[in-house]
Amino acid sequence: MPALTFLHGEASRSAGEVDGAFIFIAAICIFFFLLTQGFLIYFALRYRRKKGEPDVETPYITDNHTLETVWVIVPSLLLLAIFAYGYVVFIDLKSPLAHATEIAVTAQQWQWSFTYPDGRTVVGELRLPVGRPVKLTMTSRDVIHGFFIPAYRQKQDVLPGRYTYLWLEPDRVGSYDIFCSQYCGTGHSLMRATLVVMPAAAYAQWVEQQEAKARQAKAGTEPLAEKGEELMEQSGCLGCHTVDGTPKVGPTLKGLYGKSVPLSTGQSVTADDDYIRESIVDPNAKIVKGFPPIMPTFRGKLSADDIRAIIAYLKTLH
């Protein structure tokens, strides 16, 4: 099947199939485009009368049943063909793949997190080995999101309170965009992630490293600031806050600790331990000037120990 690779690459089998349907429909559409626009413009110019010229006598044509019938039947058949092609591709996209690795996808405002079969969760990046089919089981923690990989021509809305599925076949090593395609609020356009398709060996090595790190954390031998960094990644803080000094949906966390923070009330407050704790458990108590009051509370999600670790990490961001 020819692919529209001159526009953007075909990174999985699904891309080739969808592009095939695209080309089929485009061929029919271009034919009808030329036919109808051709007659429209040709007639408009051919039978044109200039202002002031007398009326040319026109024939009294009101109907032509044969032509009208042909115009109904031929396009109807082509429409059926378009439907059928779209149907076949759709069913194929929706069909389960055998021996697929299951990965859980959790969407929340405004980040994607991916949980691997071994229990590890990674935010903002989905790493897959090339050539192995994958089943994504997706749900949302808050509102509706849309999981969209343009390079795979695949998309599926992600809903709160239920699971939706997507089957992927990563055929080519590379790095691809994952977008949120369903509008979900202030940070919608920044709710992006990366799909990294790796050679099998490199993938295995990466898994090894990740698991070693996880063991360390479990044993409690991990430094507090490192634990804080991981907690921030897992809790989605970095969906809205950066650690490099640029403001995103929320203010940056770089250099925050100990700084004087201007508030929307016109006052300012020093970002000490208790201010940071309050901002996590009761975010709307004090709003930073110039930012919308939209942060959700993390009360009950992060323990006192967790918050201590996060503060330890924030102290390192200077």
Binding site: P59, T62, Y87, A151, G161, R162, G185, H188
Partner: protein, 538 residues
Amino acid sequence: MTERAAAVPLADRGYLTERGFRAWATTLDHKRIGVMYLFTTLFFFLVGGLFAIVIRLKLMTPGPGFISDHTYNVFFTIHGALMIFIFVIPAIPSSLGNFFIPLLIGARDVAFPRLNLFSYWLFVAGICVVFGSLLNPMDTGWTFYAPYSTRTAAAVTVLAFGLFMTGMSTILTGLNFVVTIHKLRAPGMTWYRMPLFIWAMYATSIINVLATPVIGITFLLLAAERLFGIGFFDPAKGGDPLLFQHFFWFYSHPVVYVMILPAMGIISEVIPVFARKPIFGYKAIAYSALAIAFISFLVWGHHMFVSGMSTVAGVIFSFLTFFVAVPTGIKIFNWIATLYKGSIHLDSPMLYALTFIFHFIIGGLTGMFLGALGTDVHVHDTYFLVGHFHYTIMGGTIMGLFAGLHYWFPKMTGRLLDELRAKLAWLFIIVGFNVTFFPMFILGYLGMPRRYAEYPPRFQTLHIVSTVGSWVLTIGIAIMFLNFLRCMRKGQPAPANPWRALTLEWQTASPPATDNFETIPTVTTWPYGYGKKGDAGE
């Protein structure tokens, strides 16, 4: 610069004779009510357009811009909500429909003139409530998808009540038109002697009466969920977010035909007049309007192929969707066939009518990619959809409205438009429109999602092209509106029938008197008897 000669005063100002706020605000004359609707809706077209211009400016750069992401979200919501609910839905039916339905069927007014006035003021009151919500403006998009819309801090409830009121006004107007068309046709005007604009307005009114209550109820449920915490849509409260989408599209899909059918009606009037040919396939056009109205109720699920709705439902909705393409194709075929061997005069109404067909073909054909399941998965919720929608509604409906405004301007104001300026505006509009919206098909295929305040830099070039196009489009629309405003007061007085048309509104004075006709005409033939009979007939 020398001052031009003062405008020639009209010999008879017809229905416009009485002046003053009170005379307008309490009028029962369908023509005055139509004019009030026209000014109101066109005003909000310009306001909605300003938001679009800011949106396009923001999208010239991929990163954070001169407005925050939140403000951007608010702006595209206001743009969409104003354009859809306050402008496009009422624009042609309530303004031109109100003005011309009685004139085209040879009646003195609509069936319920007081209800008509009430509808207008209910519409205005609804707009005021909608504007009340701007104190805490909406950021949900015009689609209000739950549970985001039930959770956001914005004034969704207030906006929902405002739109409930404008929707109520739409229902009453629809009811008024259905009764008017049934009961008030001039003697001799059988159904098959009705102008096609009337058929289109009849189909539109039926959709308005049947579908609008559904969105009204949906808005009430949304308000109940927000105010009293009743879980209709939010799964956290035991609701179902897909239920909202079903309700919403059960209304909002038929409503795209409320937007397009009246424009199709205008095109069916303009083309025979300016081609000096009988309309080709009268019955096919009339019945296809009813067919579109009927099928439009069965295809709402094609907005939900990737929503998580069942695969089987997706397949059924896709199949049904392609049926809508058939009657639409019939209309396009008949319009083009009407041009054959015509004596075509490319005046401004005709230019806009042809532009409507040109754009609508593109809008319709790109709809194939969205109606087919496999391809919709990729282009759904991308700029491809934004392009498709604007080609049908902005490139279609609004071009149809412009065609109607240029066509009926002499009748409504008693004055002629400056044709040169009208054509200049048209040139800017057709170039600007296509430069703005065509790149969106490519952007969408490349994967650019809609409603993105910020985007990856690789999309920037096409966004810049689109933004530059929006400036050309703006210039065109500015020229057109200035032409309207100038010629309303200073245009040459118009004869009763400047286009030599055969429909009834042109057989009375320009502007018409308050009671439309001196004596109610008796109709003996259809209104498209152009050309020489017996000459290559059938």
